[in-house]
Symmetry: C2
Subunit: 333 residues, 2 copies
């Protein structure tokens, strides 16, 4: 659990895209951030107030979150000075970089002076159990996709927001670095040891109120040969009551696999449902989420209508149309 | 790669079952073992000549293999004395115990004196790549099961023996501790980091002659919620040309999961084939392997005949009937 609120470190981000993590925090958990910290030459902003470390401290910030992906994943000397100063002032640090905070001797030393915590969210800090498949109370919904990086996290966060707005009980459950930094907790599933993957998902989505929904962030795809095992661990560890199928209609091949075409939404739904029913015989497909970023507004609307007619399931782009209809579908289940 | 031949360390094994790993080496790779080493009170034998360390050394043994599973998985003081003496005489050590050799300071120190190697086959010692799904030359067959611990390793080893006997080119590819100790190499798949599981299987089964078969040891089951992700990584990383379906007909529920019934052989075949064809559109089911250890000879025969008639696939218990018909089926593919 990362202590909130955060000060978002944008460093010397070369462009807006590099600040994706910070933007995600600002978009989805604005209450978690008091401001942003930028170095000279920073070309990104998430539209929060620029603050010094002292100003952020005075505003109540507990953790300096590295909200920027740098090239090569290394921690530069220019960053180091700020990070060490922040530790000295009592901030914890949190990062999803490949270059772990905990591998940097000077950061470790500085953190030990006053007992600050270095959160490397890319690596697990919990001994997860082996999954035991016991049926848990409460409800769970999982986003599964035709491919990787297709909008599953966005869909889950938008669904969480829509459910809260309807007065439903829900919790977004992060399974990747960005989601963990946005919400302050979760399981970095792709870094978990094989035997404990499904157990980590059970750990992440424990017993809850009967009318509470865990919205589990999906990873990979059953049809992506590099990561499909992670996807199946989510399906079996999450024992979802409902699935949301995610798709991006302009993609030509599976991400990073030029020889592999995308499956249809129907193929993903059928296979995911068959597998999900091993762990939860009641599982149903609740709706379809389309990532229409490469379509015009008109094309997006037409595509969603076509898919909705084809599958008979509520179909939206949560970014363009909101996730209300998906939340409504879950409420009806 | 563990250097052969071995001296098999049976320690103070309380019964024959505890010496399962040593027995596996003796059964499947007798040429890999020069003899066995037993302590006072050892209640097991694998029928090899009892040797002192010096006798084994003289017979050419390179590695002392801990061929016994002890209770609790710890390395006792009585064992330590032998292991340290062996290191001093130039033996490497190999073990699949939870208690790692490399975590024992006195063993590490003794191994460093003459540069001996401590092989802990339960943990990976390779940085596996992320799977890229590239089609590889050569053929691959994978054993998939209705459940865990159902005879997949035995089936694969028996198939390998039968194929060699027919003059086919084949290699057993170990994916678990016991298989790795038997053959001297492999991938401890359940201990690999999630993102690299399928890549580890690709690494294990590289390009080969067009008429060469990799026989990949299966793990878990698509229907076992604790380990299914590992099974899918084997299916997608292994890109098998053929599947062998494994089943044990008297099992009442999935191993360790009292609430979960077993799927039928047909359900496993259909699901595994659908998933396998994502990575290899030519994949076929070649045959069925039944573990009939809890049936009489007559019941076993009748059960195999019934399944063979039901699915139209060669069906044998490799232990009772040999794996020749499975090898023959692969040859015909």
């Amino acid at each position: 659990m990362i202590e909130t609120p955060y000060l978002l470190f944008l460093g010397d981000a070369p462009d807006q895209l590099a600040a994706k993590v910070a933007q995600g925090i600002k978009d989805w958990r604005p209450e978690n951030a008091v401001g942003q910290f930028r170095l000279a030459g920073c070309a990104a902003t998430v539209g929060l107030k620029d603050m010094t470390l002292a100003e952020a401290k005075a505003a109540g910030a507990k953790t300096l979150v590295i909200g920027v992906a740098n090239r090569g994943g290394t921690i530069s000397q220019a960053w180091k000075e700020v990070l060490i100063e922040a530790l000295g002032m009592g901030f914890d640090l949190a990062s999803g970089l490949h270059n772990l905070l905990g591998d940097e001797g000077d950061l470790v030393a500085a953190s030990q002076v006053n007992g600050q915590t270095l959160h490397d969210v890319r690596v697990p800090n919990v001994q997860y159990p082996i999954a035991d498949g016991t049926k848990r109370r409460g409800k769970r919904v999982l986003a599964v996709g035709t491919d990787c990086s297709i909008g599953k996290m966005y869909t889950a966060l938008a669904l969480d927001a829509a459910m809260q707005k309807r007065g439903m009980k829900s919790t977004f459950r992060a399974t990747g670095q960005t989601g963990i930094l946005i919400t302050g907790s979760g399981v970095p599933l792709d870094a978990v040891i094989a035997d404990f993957m499904a157990g980590a998902v059970e750990y992440l989505t424990p017993d809850n109120d009967d009318d509470h929904w865990d919205i589990i962030e999906g990873q990979g795809s059953l049809f992506h040969v590099s990561y499909s095992g992670v996807t199946l661990a989510l399906i079996h560890g999450g024992q979802p009551d409902a699935l949301i199928l995610c798709h991006e209609p302009t993609r030509k091949h599976m991400r990073g696999l030029p020889g592999y075409g995308l499956p249809t939404i129907g193929q993903v739904g059928e296979l995911a449902l068959t597998l999900a029913r091993v762990a939860n015989a009641q599982c149903q497909i609740a709706g379809i989420s389309i990532n229409t970023q490469h379509l015009s507004a008109q094309e997006a609307q037409a595509y969603c209508e076509k898919i909705e007619a084809e599958y008979g399931l509520p179909t939206v782009d949560p970014y363009r149309h909101g996730a209300e209809r998906l939340a409504e579908a879950l409420e009806k289940l």
